[in-house]
Each structure stands twice: as structure tokens, then as C-alpha cells.
Symmetry: C2
Subunit: 210 residues, 2 copies
DNA sequence: AGTTTGAGTGAACGTATGTTCACCCAAAGT
DNA sequence: ACTTTGGGTGAACATACGTTCACTCAAACT
């Protein structure tokens, strides 16, 4: 909508939403080569172009800003899971189909993945815990997905969870690598594909061992 | 050595060494629930009990302090590798023998492992790079170790490196978990043992697939 | 005995931090 | 038309920051 002189008219909540978005983006930009625990409220405010006090209208601390970023980052990540599962009807193609999807997601949501990688290990305690919890949920989702796959029923529930955890933690590692060395994407993907196959060969031969 | 009144006599370099040690320990203590990028030179100095300026007699920045901590942390880690290999003459027992050794090391050098886990993801850029490099070296060592194991020759050099990388990154993940949840050590070790076996079953069945 | 060296001191600097408060003023509600 | 609401302002605070500089004084060297 525009006013009589052509200027953009915003409702109150639209403007608030826009500033909030700007704060989140500024925080993502500032943590890109640092960490939440190392940036200041004032840096964020300066980056956004607001006065420090205005920050409090949106978040009551840098930590709660961090929790909001965890939320939206894992929204991205759930999108990844959805896309992966959608593209891999066959277990055989699961790996080959999934890795490019992972790479696309990491490229498209670079800031979010980098944020999670950093804060997972070094963020404020409550942020770390939130991330740990979200990853746990995703691992559970993956376990039920794998159970539906042909041959997946050979696993006990316990072992299903362990397999899912193995995959998730390795994928987390891969995402971290893609972020650290974006230029080496092709090599990283090729190596990871081989490694996941090693892992899968283990999984598929698991039943005979029990 | 003691003086006439019983007080401890220290040479100049002994005293310097002691203060340096105190600085390193103070930094480890302060980063335990934070990160190098979030602590200040003054905090470290206060923790040690020296005036901020005295810090510069030992390190010229918090970053170079970090590099020194990377060095001594990986000295601990190499000790782990040595102990693991020493205790596992049989490939079969490799996992069962190694995990308790890992747990012992993580417990004994908790601060070092926690430091690496944090700074690997969120430390100052040069510290991150130093850690990445050290992990790469250790992966190479592991690859040559695995090659000497019966059956290890079935792998191409390339695949050996990938397998070693797979193991190392998973062990890094495990160490991080042991640090985050020391109370759950028994459970974590049991789960990891099963997971490493899954991984190993894959590795041992790998040749037949090529 | 006399001199040099070097870890630790203490004051001072300009700057940045989180948080408080009273204030402004346009959109939203009446 | 008038009042309320609420995002954003700007000054002020006490505290913390990295770094400088001239200094002390005991160990080490000559």
C-alpha cells in the first residue's frame, strides 16, 4: 500500500515485524565469524540502525534472541528433512538423492546452519540445550522414517534409534564441513557419499549378526 | 629447594613457568561455560591474581593463549591415541577396549576436551584452523594404524582415509557428549559401542561390495 | 660489588558495555 | 475528536574493556 506522496504505509505490527526481522538478520550476520556469547546488544542495535534501548521492545536479552534464532533455524532444517524424504522413495537411492538436497539446503540457509553449528557447542547454556533438544526430536523422526523402509523392520526400536543417531550426527558433521569449506562442496559430497554407504553396508548386514 | 626461613626458592624461569601455567588454567576454567571469543584478558588476569598488564609478559593476545591451549590439548589427545593402540592388539577387541580408554581420558582431561569441542566450532579463526589441522593429522595417523590391522589391506588408501575420518568424527562427537553429560557416561558408552560396531560391520563387509 | 634483565605493578587513556529513565509521536482504539 | 498504546529516542549511570607508560625490585649475569 502507498500513501498520497508515494511513501509506503505500514501498520504498526508490520513495522514491528520488519524491525524484528532486521534484528534477527543482524545477529546472524554478526555471529557469522563469532558467537552469540561474544556479540553485544549494542552491536546488534548499531547494525540494525536502532538505538540500544529499542532492542528491548523485541527481546529481553541476547539469549532470548538466540532462542528465536534456534526456532527459525530448525524450521529450515525440518524443511530439509521433508525434501529429503520426498525425493527418496527408494532406500537404495536414499543417500545419492539426499546429499545434493542437503548441499542445496546448506547453501540456501547458510547462516542458519552456521549458527546452529557454532551455538550448539559454544552458545549460551539455554541455547545449547534448545539445540540439543531439537536435534533429539529430529533423530526420533528419522528413526520412524527408517522403520518404514523395506528391511527397516529388522531392527529393534533401540537399534533403530542408534542408527538414526549415527546418521544424524554424521550429517551434522557434514553440514559443518560444507559451511567451513564451501568451495570444496563437490569433494565433501563425494567423500560423504562413500562414507554413508560404508555406514549403510554396516546397517544392512546388521541383522545377520544378531 | 627452600631458603633459610623455609620459604620456597624459585628461579626466575620457574616462577614464569608457574604463572604461565596459572594463566592457561584460568583460561580453561573461564572457557568452561563460555568461549575464548567471549572472555577478556582482564578476567583471566583477575582469575590468576595478576594485574592485566602482566598478562602481556606471557602472551600477546587471548588468541595466542588459545593457540597454546590447542597445543597442550592435542598433546593429551595424542596420549589417548597411544593408549588406545597399546591396549588393542586385536582388531576384534578394538572397540570394546578403546571406549573405556576414551572415557578415562575425557574424564582426566575434561577441560582440554571441552576446550577443543567449543573452540573447534566457535573459537577465533586461527584457533579454529589450528584445531582443524590437528584433527586432520590425527586422522592420517589412524588411517595408517588401521592399514596395519589384519584385513585392513582390503581398503584402498582413499577408502582407508575415509574410514578413519568416519571414526574420528564420530569419536569427536562422542567426546562432546561425554563432556555435556558426564553422568550418562555408562549409557553413552554402551550406545556408542553398538554404533561403532554397526560402523565396523560396514567396514568389514566393504570389500565384498567392490 | 655492580649492572642488567624481566616479571609484576599501578595509574591513566579512550572506548564499549548493559540497563534505567523520561520523553516523543504516529498508529490504533474509542 | 480524543485517548491510549507502543516502537523508537537520547541522555545518563556505573562498570568493564584493551593498551600505554613509567615504575619497582629481586634474580641473573659480569
Amino acid at each position: 500500500m502507498t500513501g498520497a506522496l508515494g511513501e509506503v504505509i505500514e501498520t504498526r505490527s508490520e513495522r514491528k515485524q520488519r524491525t524484528r526481522r532486521a534484528i534477527l538478520d543482524a545477529a546472524l550476520a554478526l555471529t557469522d565469524d563469532s558467537s552469540l556469547v561474544a556479540i553485544s546488544l549494542r552491536q546488534v542495535a548499531k547494525e540494525v540502525g536502532i538505538v540500544p534501548t529499542a532492542f528491548y521492545r523485541h527481546f529481553d536479552s541476547v539469549e532470548s534472541l538466540g532462542l528465536a534464532l534456534v526456532d527459525e533455524s530448525f524450521e529450515s532444517l525440518r524443511g530439509l528433512l521433508r525434501d529429503v524424504w520426498l525425493r527418496s522413495p527408494q532406500f537404495q537411492d536414499y543417500i545419492d538423492g539426499s546429499l545434493p538436497v542437503l548441499a542445496d539446503h546448506v547453501r540456501a540457509h547458510r547462516a542458519h546452519y552456521a549458527f546452529i553449528a557454532r551455538e550448539r557447542a559454544a552458545g549460551p547454556p539455554r541455547v545449547r540445550e534448545a539445540i540439543r533438544h531439537e536435534i533429539e526430536l529430529i533423530t526420533r523422526e528419522l528413526a520412524t522414517d527408517v522403520a518404514r523402509v523395506p528391511g527397516g523392520r529388522a531392527f529393534s526400536t533401540e537399534h533403530l534409534n542408534l542408527l538414526a543417531d549415527l546418521i544424524v550426527s554424521f550429517v551434522v558433521t557434514t553440514a559443518e564441513r560444507l559451511i567451513e569449506e564451501p568451495a570444496a562442496e563437490a569433494r565433501i559430497l563425494a567423500e560423504t557419499r562413500t562414507q554413508l554407504r560404508m555406514l549403510m553396508v554396516g546397517a544392512l548386514n546388521w541383522r545377520s549378526r544378531r
